[in-house]
């Protein structure tokens, strides 16, 4: 019993200790961001490797998720003769929830893990301390561009995910199952509110972008500089970023749509 309490206490302390270090780290990153905008090429290169190279997985997943939504929705709604609402169902599920959340989860696995591994390996091979000795701040040169690149990429990817998903739903519902194309689109336009739905979805994806990228760069920078340390940090990135995404999603949803 005492052991249990002890290890519980230890875990709690180490959790807050890491959180503290991560916050100080975030402060250091933020301090370098103004000067970063003088060198946009660094950010653009990161948007390419973090965002553009994640496009294929986002496109494919978005398409399939949209089709599944259409199919599941159709099977339920057809009993009530309400299949013309399918456009709205697909669009709202994607824009409010699945777009930001699934994109963030995929992003954590595809780009977050890569960020952690890259920064961790640079640390393990002394590239970061080499930079320090050349009077180049690695947080500014290596971490901050990746952080900003991730924050810009995730909301864009989430938007693309939702758009492709809506198109996937259209393909299945209209082209395969024969629902009227006009009602698919017009119901969607009528029932989707710009501020209430789309804006909230965008805010979610921005929050996820900040948190997931922050976790990824922190784990990389903070890892134990050995092969094992890097591999553990990579795993932690995926696990923590996914949990953070789901937890925050609940919180944000409660705040935005909860009427609590």
């Amino acid at each position: 019993m005492l052991n249990l309490l002890q290890s519980l206490g230890k875990t709690t302390i180490s959790f807050f200790e890491r959180l503290g270090r991560a916050s100080i780290f975030l402060k250091h990153i933020l301090a370098t961001i103004p000067s970063l905008f003088l060198r946009p090429s660094l950010i653009i290169a990161q948007i390419y490797s973090i965002g553009v190279l994640s496009l294929s997985i986002i496109l494919v997943s978005g398409l399939f998720v949209g089709m599944v939504l259409g199919l599941q929705g159709y099977n339920t709604l057809v009993n009530f003769g309400a299949t013309e609402s399918l456009g709205m169902v697909v669009a709202l599920s994607l824009v409010r929830e699945l777009g930001p959340v699934l994109t963030s989860l995929l992003f954590a696995g595809r780009a977050g893990s890569a960020l952690t591994a890259e920064i961790g390996l640079m640390k393990a091979t002394e590239q970061l301390s080499g930079m320090e000795m050349m009077a180049v701040n690695p947080i500014k040169r290596v971490v901050a561009p990746r952080f900003v690149g991730g924050i810009i990429s995730l909301p864009l990817l989430a938007a693309i995910f939702s758009a492709v998903g809506i198109f996937g739903g259209y393909l299945l519902v209209v082209q395969v199952l024969g629902v009227d194309s006009g009602s698919y689109w017009s119901q969607m336009q009528d029932k989707t509110d710009f501020m209430g739905d789309i804006m909230n979805g965008i805010i979610k994806s921005i929050v996820f972008g900040i948190v997931v990228t922050w976790i990824a760069v922190f784990e990389g920078y903070d890892c134990i500089p050995t092969a094992e340390g890097v591999s553990r940090a990579t795993t932690r990135t995926v696990v923590h970023a996914s949990l953070a995404t789901l937890g925050l999603d609940f919180l944000l949803t409660a705040l935005m749509f909860g009427n609590i």
Binding site: M122, T125, G130, M134, A135, V136, N137, R141
Partner: protein, 268 residues
């Protein structure tokens, strides 16, 4: 200007509960080449990191050019580092860019020189280390010795006033070793640099060093010019310079008695 460029006073530094340095005093005169020698694991790399400000001593001071490194703000520390070149034991090249870009890196980060000038400066340094032909190779395509020579070119490209070499000769064949030894001496004299060389290659280092410090067990065991060291009476220095296996120099990391441990009489 006849002064001490780096002044290390009573420095103590520990890793865990082991004192790596326990009261070390070193003076490095401006414009000279100073060799730091000592058994593997005594903290030579650690010493360079203390001078570069990547580690802070737990007691004592490290002064570079009159400035106490540990008390500088980050901004000032970076200003001092711009004047330091460091050759890492592992090379520490950036693996996502090629040899040319690696050498150009400090120039691109700190200056707005025109491309043509950068091109010239980089090729000049690569020529000096004999790797101009390798400029488009990636670091992963280099051998260990080549990578260290590229790192040397990079350390020189920003024209530092002081340069620290961590084992520059390891992994070099006799010919490139000879070239490097000569290069280090001639750069030092031509540019008026202050150089610190950490090396195990006693003969080569003794050829070019003005002063040798030997450290072991957290202390400076002996120091002097190469000639003084060769004629030293100390059994310790004799053994180290001649590389004999018997003598006072410890080869083992501190450990309990071997026989007792084999017999299981040591509490782990």
């Amino acid at each position: 200007m006849n002064d001490t460029f780096i002044k290390i006073r009573d420095v103590r530094f520990s890793r865990g509960d082991r004192w790596i340095f326990d009261g070390v005093n070193i003076d490095i005169p401006r414009g000279k080449i100073v060799a730091i020698m000592g058994p593997s694991g005594t903290g030579k790399t650690t010493l360079l990191r203390l001078i570069g400000g990547q580690l802070k001593p737990h007691a004592g001071t490290v002064e570079v050019d009159g400035k106490n490194i540990a008390s500088l703000s980050t901004h000032d520390l970076y200003k001092v580092r711009k004047k330091m070149g460091m050759l890492f034991q592992s090379g520490a090249l950036l693996t996502d860019i090629n040899v040319f870009e690696n050498v150009a890196f400090p120039l691109r980060e700190h200056t707005k020189l025109p491309e043509a000038l950068i091109h010239h400066l980089v090729l000049m340094k690569l020529q000096a280390v004999g790797l101009r032909g390798a400029k488009y190779l990636m670091p992963s395509e280099l051998s260990g010795g080549m990578a260290r020579r590229v790192a040397l070119a990079r350390a020189l490209v920003f024209d530092p006033v002081m340069i620290m070499y961590d084992e520059p000769f390891t992994g070099q064949d006799p010919i490139s070793m000879g070239v490097l030894v000569h290069l280090i001496r001639s750069i030092n004299d031509a540019l008026g640099l202050t150089s610190i060389i950490v090396s195990h290659d006693v003969q080569e280092t003794a050829q070019i060093a003005d002063l040798i410090y030997v450290i072991s067990n957290g202390k400076v065991v002996s120091h002097g010019t190469p000639d003084e060291m060769k004629n030293s009476e100390s059994a310790w220095v004799k053994q180290f310079i001649n590389g004999e296996s018997d003598g006072p120099v410890p080869f083992h990391y501190p450990a309990p008695d071997y026989k007792q441990e084999l017999l299981g009489e040591v509490a782990c």
